[in-house]
């Protein structure tokens, strides 16, 4: 329920810029897209997270030095049958996390298809991160880290192996995206929409990111 993420959690007190970015999660069904978002936004994990029907929308704010980055996160349904709805959600997105399940090689192939589609059809400067989720299931690994890393390097993608269950690398991958996103005003006109007014108390308190 929080509006602040850690590892540079947003802080109402920062006097710096506020940037707002649209981020979309894509990937095969049941790879853990909703679980990654739930972990990042609410710090929760549900073993039996229900499938996403349609789309869900959540927000989370992270703090990077003097910049507050607000993510508008679109979480989508994974099944191929709903593929035709995806462009609606990635249109205008400045960032995407393409998720696969590292215990299932098919989901890695599907992730590559998503990356191709984004490169072809999404905004030209979109920041794409590849997340190999379910890293806690090491014994069932079917996609080698090196293979995914090589693919990510070839395609200039951010890459991390994550676990929504243990929280490994979850905040980190969002933070890495936040760092890579352009913070100049031209690239982030949306940020102007944000209400930057802070209460007097929070302006004085000045503490940050713990």
């Amino acid at each position: 329920m929080s509006n602040r993420a850690q590892g540079g959690p947003g802080n109402g007190a920062t006097a710096g810029k506020i940037c707002q970015f649209k981020l979309v999660l894509l990937g095969e069904s049941a790879v853990g897209k909703s679980s990654l978002v739930l972990r990042f936004v609410k710090g929760q994990f549900h073993e039996y997270q229900e499938s996403t029907i349609g789309a869900a929308f959540l927000t989370q704010t992270v703090c990077l030095d003097d910049t507050t980055v607000k993510f508008e996160i679109w979480d989508t349904a994974g099944q191929e049958r709903y593929h035709s709805l995806a462009p609606m959600y990635y249109r205008g997105a400045q960032a995407a996390i393409v998720v696969y399940d590292l215990t299932n090689p098919d989901t890695f192939s599907r992730a590559k298809t998503w990356v191709k589609e984004l490169q072809r059809q999404a905004s030209p400067n979109i920041v794409i991160a590849l997340a190999g989720n379910k890293a806690d299931l090491a014994s069932k690994r079917a996609v080698e880290t090196a293979e995914a890393q090589a693919y990510a390097d070839e395609n200039q993608l951010l890459f991390m192996e994550t676990s929504a269950k243990t929280a490994t690398n979850v905040n980190d991958i969002f933070l890495a995206i936040a760092k890579k996103l352009p913070k100049n005003d031209a690239a982030n006109q949306q940020g102007q929409r944000l209400n930057v007014a802070q209460s007097a108390e929070s302006n004085q308190s000045g503490g940050c990111c713990k």
Binding site: Y82, T168, R193
Partner: protein, 582 residues
């Protein structure tokens, strides 16, 4: 490594602390009331409002982890929530029968669980909030308090709200300048008419007082004029297009019980008056004990006109047919499966979804759950029954309530198959041969139809949605795809479905039900000035918070209002409701 620590309530100076503030612990199971502690803290990030459950159940527990790490797993019952006061967009206050309630809505569209106070116990908290944020009362809903943010958008909004005249009325203003006297008379007449039209009792009083100015001619305004009509002072306004007839009172009944159910059968076990039966179920639903039989009739698994004996024969045939199809996939060898990728792909989808369908309900909880394997087997058999359609996400949601009622595979299968055939267009994707914009055609068509209904029932709200990139109504996608399964508690879903399965009062009653729900949310959406993303979030956050019976009543009232509007008759798929009123 990052942890979930950031999600903890931020520490800070405790400004306010109040026990015994309740909220609903909701979910697919029955909602229960949960007492908690409400606090206001001054933290490094500003004022924070938080609520957490009062009894000392831990907010999280350590789950099992192979690596030995402590895993924070939040059980569904934990409802701790907090938000920064400067994220607050509005709050809604209401006096209920035995408590006072406040619902907080945030800038991003989040709607927090409603807090319930003993009468009078809310005062000091509200006063404190009002001392920290500037608020104004919504002119459209006196119970809605809007936070005034110091940003241009909010100022614009405040300014707009000060405008006393809506679009159409501005024409009236300019006419007033040009032709003062006739326009004044016209305007007064319009006011009087609206007043009398919506308050028949007062209308009589006015007539008695010789103030009857009800005009014969409305001229150009008549068609376009809509207004917010105050139903009850200080309560929600209902926008109503002036051309629609008045809302009629409708009532709902108790569910159809066993004795009454049996009275619909003749001596040989036929149902002699199926229409009357459906009308009765439309009005009140079914008692749980008759559902296993009644649902088979409603869904068309059983034929009303057959005798009990004939039905028994049909049932045996259907049961055998089910097991025949089940055997088909059960008898695949692994080797055979390996060379049948189309089947394997479908099988994998089923496995993924079965594992996460309604697991918080007792009936599907725990490992090795018997109902879970039934869910799996019925869906797998459905793949053999309709291989072209296969398994589509959302289907497991349609099956789980049916399975919980039928408690056996063959009956569940046939009810499920009939249900899917009713809404097959929701799941078909025409992507193989057609252009992209032809995909998800069934849902798209329904969303277009819903838009048409909305534009008649709530024209200015529809305009608002259009102006806020939400005219495609995709925020209703989940509602339509699985018939509100995720929006209501399990038992309410069953009630809603059996009502909708009657096909009364019209085939597309579910669209009117959408209109009814949106009518209730309209003011919150517009007054909070929610846009595309906030609307989606607000709608998604409404799950388990929608009052079923109230909305069924309003949907039926809307039906009677729209009955006379020619352009929506086809959308509704009208069927005479003459006999429904039992």
């Amino acid at each position: 490594m990052a942890t979930a620590g950031s999600i903890d309530i931020p520490d800070g100076e405790l400004i306010f602390d109040q026990r015994n503030v309740r909220t609903m612990r909701d979910g697919p199971h029955r909602s229960t009331v949960c007492s908690g502690v409400l606090q206001l803290r001054l933290t490094p990030i500003g004022y924070v409002v938080c609520w957490r459950p009062q009894e000392e159940t831990p907010a999280s527990f350590n789950g099992e982890m192979s690596s030995g790490d402590a895993v924070q797993i939040q059980p569904r019952r934990a409802h701790t929530f907090w938000f920064e006061l400067n994220e607050l967009k509005s709050y809604h206050c209401a006096s209920r029968k035995d408590h006072y309630e406040i619902t907080f809505m945030l800038c991003d569209g989040t709607r927090h669980p409603t807090l319930m106070f003993d009468f009078g116990k809310q005062t000091s908290f509200l006063q404190l909030v009002e001392s920290k944020v500037r608020t104004r009362v919504s002119p459209k809903d006196k119970k809605l308090h809007l936070v005034v943010h110091d940003d241009p958008e909010a100022l614009q909004k405040s300014f707009t709200s000060l405008e006393l005249f809506q679009n159409e009325d501005q024409t009236l203003v300019s006419r007033l300048v040009r032709e003062p006297l006739p326009t004044f008379a016209d305007g007064l007449a319009r006011f009087t008419n609206l007043f009398t039209q919506n308050h028949p009792q007062r209308s009589r009083q006015i007539s008695d007082g010789m103030l009857d100015l009800n005009p014969a001619s409305f001229g150009e305004f008549e068609d376009v004029f809509t207004i917010n009509v105050d139903q009850e002072p200080g309560f929600d306004f209902v926008e109503q297009a002036a051309e629609l007839p008045q809302r009629m009172p409708v009532t709902r009944s108790l569910p159809l019980g066993l004795d009454e159910w049996l009275s619909y059968f003749d001596v040989e076990g036929r149902i002699t008056d199926p229409h009357n039966l459906r009308a009765r179920i439309f009005r009140g639903g079914c008692a749980p004990e008759i559902r296993p039989e009644a649902w088979k009739f409603l869904l068309g698994v059983y034929d009303y006109s057959k005798t009990a004996k004939e039905r028994e024969q049909d049932h045996s045939r259907l049961t055998a047919d089910y097991y025949r199809m089940k055997l088909q996939w059960k008898s695949f060898s692994t080797d055979q499966e390996r060379r049948f990728t189309a089947y394997l792909a479908r099988k994998s989808l089923v496995e993924k979804d079965v594992n996460r369908t309604d697991r918080s309900l007792d009936i599907f909880a725990g490992d090795g759950n018997e109902h879970l394997s039934m869910l799996n087997d019925v869906l797998m058999t459905y793949i053999m029954y309709d291989f072209d359609l296969g398994y589509v996400q959302g289907m497991s949601d349609l099956l789980s309530p049916i399975l919980s009622v039928m408690q056996n595979e063959p009956d569940s299968f046939w009810c499920f198959a009939k249900f899917v055939s009713k809404i097959r267009c929701n799941f078909v994707d025409h992507d193989r041969n057609e252009e992209k914009d032809q995909r998800q055609l069934g849902i798209k068509r329904q969303l277009v139809e819903l838009h048409q209904l909305l534009s008649v029932a709530m024209p200015s709200f529809t305009q608002y949605l259009d102006d806020h990139d939400s005219g495609n109504l995709y925020f209703c996608f989940r509602w339509l795809l699985i018939w509100f399964k995720r929006e209501f508690a399990f038992e309410d879903t069953k009630r809603l479905w059996e009502v909708l399965w009657t096909g009364l009062p019209c085939q597309n009653f579910h669209l009117l039900f959408c209109v009814a729900i949106l009518e209730e949310e309209k003011i919150r959406i517009t007054e909070n000035n929610f846009g595309l993303t906030e609307i989606l979030k607000h709608i998604n956050d409404m799950c388990y918070k929608i009052a079923l019976e109230d909305n069924l009543i309003r949907a039926e009232q809307l039906y009677f209002q729209l009955l006379e509007v020619p352009k929506v008759a086809t959308i509704l798929g009208l069927e005479s409701l003459a006999e429904v009123a039992v």
